[in-house]
Structure formats: C-alpha cells, structure tokens
C-alpha cells in the first residue's frame, strides 16, 4: 500500500467494491415521533445483509410533520435487495408484519420516481378481508384498511430504482477497540447526514467482516481472517502489529453518488478525529475488482 495520510491517519491505496442492487424508499408516519421511529426500527430489524436477511434496510432520516404526506412525524426508510422479486417479498412481509401492526402508523412511497414499481398497499390490502377501500387523491392512490385502532393508510405502490448500489465499505483500523470504535462512530454519524444512503449493520457498524466462502461446505461467507487481530501471525495478515481492532462500515445507497458521498463524509470524520483519539488506518474491502461493478477508490474520496 502507498503511504497516503489524512491528518495523520493512514489511508490505504485501495478501493471498495460494490454491487448493483434494487432499491426503494418508504415514508412511515405515526401520531408521534416515538411511534414512527418504533415502526421504522421494527421494519428494518434483521436487515443487515442480503446474505441471510433477504434485504438490507435502514433509516435514512427522520422527517418533520411538514415533510410527510399526512402532516405527522415520520421516518424515511430505505430497502435494498439483489432482485426485484426478493425486494417485493421483503417489502410486503416487513410492511405487513412491522408497520401495519404498529399503532397509528401509515406508510407511503418514499421515492418520487423509479424504473419500476413495487406493490405496497396493493399487496397488503388483502389483510382487510374485503373491507379495504382505495382512495385516489391527486396523482397518488392509497389503500385504507380497517384495523383495531382505526385505519391503516398505505400508498398503493412505491417506485423502485435499479440504479441502487450495495456494499460500499470502509475498514477502520485502530490501536485499541475503544479508539477504533470512536472513529467508526464518528464516521457513521457523519454518513447519516448524507441523503439516500444507509449503513444497515448494528449502529451502522460491522465487527465481523466476512469474506466469500468457507472451509465448511454450504457456508457462503466466513470471517475475514486476514483482518482478525487475534490471528496475526497465524495467517498472512493484512494488519500490522500496531492494529488491535478492525471495524467495518457497509454502505448502501439509492445511487452510486450517494454511496460515494457517504464514504467521503466518513473518511473526513475519521481524519478529523485523528490517530490519537481515533483510527490509525483506513482501508476498504474488495474482491479484486472482478465481482462488483462499482469501485470507490479511497484516495479519490479522502479529504
């Protein structure tokens, strides 16, 4: 690796490799911010990786009452999957089980346009057992489902984009778990301000980065042993003796530009914190550039 540094933090001359995804966005509202957040948190639970969750999802940002279709507090949620069919399935299941069930909730399309449409209320409406009512207001069509606290209002469809990208990433390496976590948290905080991008792992952070494949038959992913500090010496490690902890941030975006913007914001936040209180080094994960169409070179994104 070449010796690139930003405010004393070493930046690997490498790139993050990311993939085309199908993406959509929803706006979830409720009578209070508390319950809008609750519905969004529940819906985006167990959605860290397409490897086993079916989709990757997270909260893009909170919305004030003036920003939502029904004038109530809301949350914009992004969802990504590797195929249209899987995204449709995940959308239907998650809205049906997590948003429909949440007190006072309503659910709307969160994208203005896309190459295709996914069924939202048009799929959930059957829960109403024949009592569902469609209502077209302006150009938007809603379904009203009688539920025990009144009505669940759900927009009929939501646009889907085929230009979404999943798998942008940063590997944050530090001298201690504490400083590494501090740098990673700072990066996640900065990335959350970037629109149209999410970090789907817990708190935006992955501590168990994975590689493709395993020595065990049937396992499609296994620990990224080259970055495990306790394996230094036992494997051809990618980290030196000064590194005691590595954390990863994975980024999904509705556009490639959103992923790049999030990575740029994260790198800046890590550099701003500096090596004393934060990370010593930042890298990125890739597969040699042969699998993913999108490459994000750190030296082009560093501050």
């Amino acid at each position: 690796m070449s010796e690139l540094t930003a405010n004393g933090v070493a930046i690997d001359d490498t790139f993050a490799e990311a993939f085309d995804m199908r993406g959509t966005a929803l706006v979830i509202t409720a009578d209070s911010r508390k319950w809008a957040l609750q519905a969004a948190v529940t819906m985006t639970g167990f959605a860290t990786s397409v490897i086993a969750c079916g989709c990757e999802a997270g909260m893009d940002r909170e919305l004030g009452p003036h920003e939502t279709p029904d004038g109530r507090p809301g949350v914009r949620v992004l969802m990504f999957a590797t195929s249209t069919a899987e995204l449709q399935k995940q959308l239907q299941n998650r809205v049906g089980q997590c948003v429909l069930t949440s007190p006072g909730s309503a659910c709307y399309a969160g994208l203005a346009a896309g190459e295709d449409k996914l069924k939202l209320g048009a799929a959930i409406r059957y829960f109403a057992d024949g009592w569902q009512i469609a209502k077209k207001v302006g150009e938007r069509r809603y379904w009203r489902l009688p539920v025990m606290d009144g009505e669940f209002v759900c927009e009929s469809t939501t646009p889907m984009t085929k230009r979404a990208v999943g798998g942008g990433n940063l590997l944050i390496m530090g001298a201690t778990p504490q400083t590494t976590l501090a740098a990673t948290e700072a990066a996640v905080e900065a990335m959350r301000a970037v629109p149209d991008a999410i970090m789907p792992f817990p708190g935006g952070i992955v501590r168990s980065g994975s590689k493709v494949g395993s020595k065990y038959k049937g396992a499609i992913a296994s620990t990224n042993h080259l970055y495990c500090p306790t394996l230094k010496g036992a494997v051809d490690s990618e980290i030196g003796p000064e590194i005691a902890c590595v954390l990863e941030i994975v980024i999904d975006g509705l556009t490639s530009e959103a992923v790049a913007a999030a990575m740029r914001a994260g790198l800046k936040a890590i550099a701003d914190l500096g090596p004393e209180r934060g990370a010593l080094r930042v890298g990125a994960g890739n597969y040699g550039g042969k699998l993913g169409k999108h490459h994000y070179r750190l030296k082009e994104l560093m501050p």
Binding site: D70, W131, K135, V137, G138, Y142, R144, E151, V153
Partner: protein, 270 residues
Amino acid sequence: MSGFTFRLRAPPPQRVDLSGLTPQALAGRTLAEIAALPIQTTRSALSVGDLFDIREGDLDEIVFEGGEERLDWVGAGLGAGAIRVVGDVGVEAGRGMTGGALTIEGGAGAFAGSGLRGGLLKIGGDAGERLGGPLAGETEGMSGGAIHVGGNAGPRAGDKMRRGFLLIEGDAGDYAGSRMIAGTLAIGGRAGALPGYLMNRGTILLAGGVVEMAPTFLDCGVFELVAARLLADHVETMSPRLGAAFRGPLRRYAGDLAALGKGEIFVGAR
C-alpha cells in the same frame, strides 16, 4: 398574447352546441373556418360567426364573453388548455373532459361535468341537477378530475361518481352522491334529503348539515382519520373552506347498507 375570444352578440335564437370550440378542436383552423363552424341544434342553420364576434388570440386560452343558458356543451371533451366563460352556460358543460380547466363564472345547467375524467371544472354560480352524473344508460358518472361549485347544486350531484373530487361550497339538492361508486363529494352548505342514497363506496363530507339522513347509514363514532388528513390537504388546494372541514374530529356514518355499504358520510363532530 391574450386569449382567443368569442363575444356573444345577442342571446341565441335556439340552443347551440359549443362542444366544437375547444383548443384542440380549433387548432389549425383559420378564422374564417372557425366562423363557419355549425353550432345549431335545430333545422335552422347557425354558425359561430352568426352568434359571436371573434377576436384571435392564444388558442390555449379560450374566452367566451357573455354567457347564456342556451349555450350547451361548453368545453365538452376538453383535453388541455383553458376555457373561461364570463356568464352562464346551458347543459352538459365540460361533459367528458379529460384535462385542462373550464371556468364558468356564472351558473351551469344540468349535467355539468357529466362523465368528467380529468381536468378542473369551476362553476362560480349554481349548478343544475345531476352535476357530474351520467346520462341515461351510462354506467358511471365522473371518474376523475375535479368539479368546484361556488354556489349551490341541484339534486343528485355526483350521481354514480366513480373517482375524483366534487366540491360544492353551497347547498346541495336531494340525493347528493346517489349511487356513488367511489370518489369524494364535499358539501359546504346544507345537503338535501338522503345524501349517499344507494352509494356503494366513496366519501361524502357534510359540512353544513343535512335535511334528512337515510336510516341505512349507521354511526361508527368519531375519528380523526389519516385519510381525512390526506383529503384535507388536497381539497384545500381548491377550496380552503372545504379542506378545513375535513380536519379535526369527524363523525363517520357507514353506508349505504341498502347497497354495498362501504361508503361513508363524514359530519363535523366539534
């Protein structure tokens, strides 16, 4: 450039059919061709030039200076552009509109906005019976767009309405929203007897009381529904008063239980 103007010289000697005087129908015609267009509805020939002084202008904005209750089918089939009538019109104004804006500053006769599918029909004065409704033999009335009436509406406003918004600032006659299939009807004044008679689905808002509710509508209680918020925001763009009437607690009556029963009548519950 000002609008393409037809100034009415005198009351017409017979009912006239003005459905041919829309922006799309007149596009590409010369002034002489327009003046020669037949508009009679009897055996007595009558052309545009016989009835109107024509002033050339922007065809996307047609103006009729002077109205009369014998001017029928004004703006019928309008698909784009704007038509404004300074005065009254006859029957079936804006019938079958698919887009654009038809503004009638006076009153309109029966069947205004009949079968409307898109666009906005504004009637400054009163509207006759069966506003937005279907003609005999047709299976549905207005199925999109919006009608706004500044005054009162006659009986059976919104008959067999399927989609869209019908907003009446004043009173409505008996059987408003009769046989509604869906859509939204809001009445700012007092509604006549039996609103929503035999409606299957759809929403009726009664903001100013009602002469007599049908016994086949049942009280569901008082709610502040999210759907009402969405309706309020949309209706407010056309009528701040009626939009505001959708806000706050509303008593919901479900019906007509003599038909499908999935319709609703909202009445303010403050």
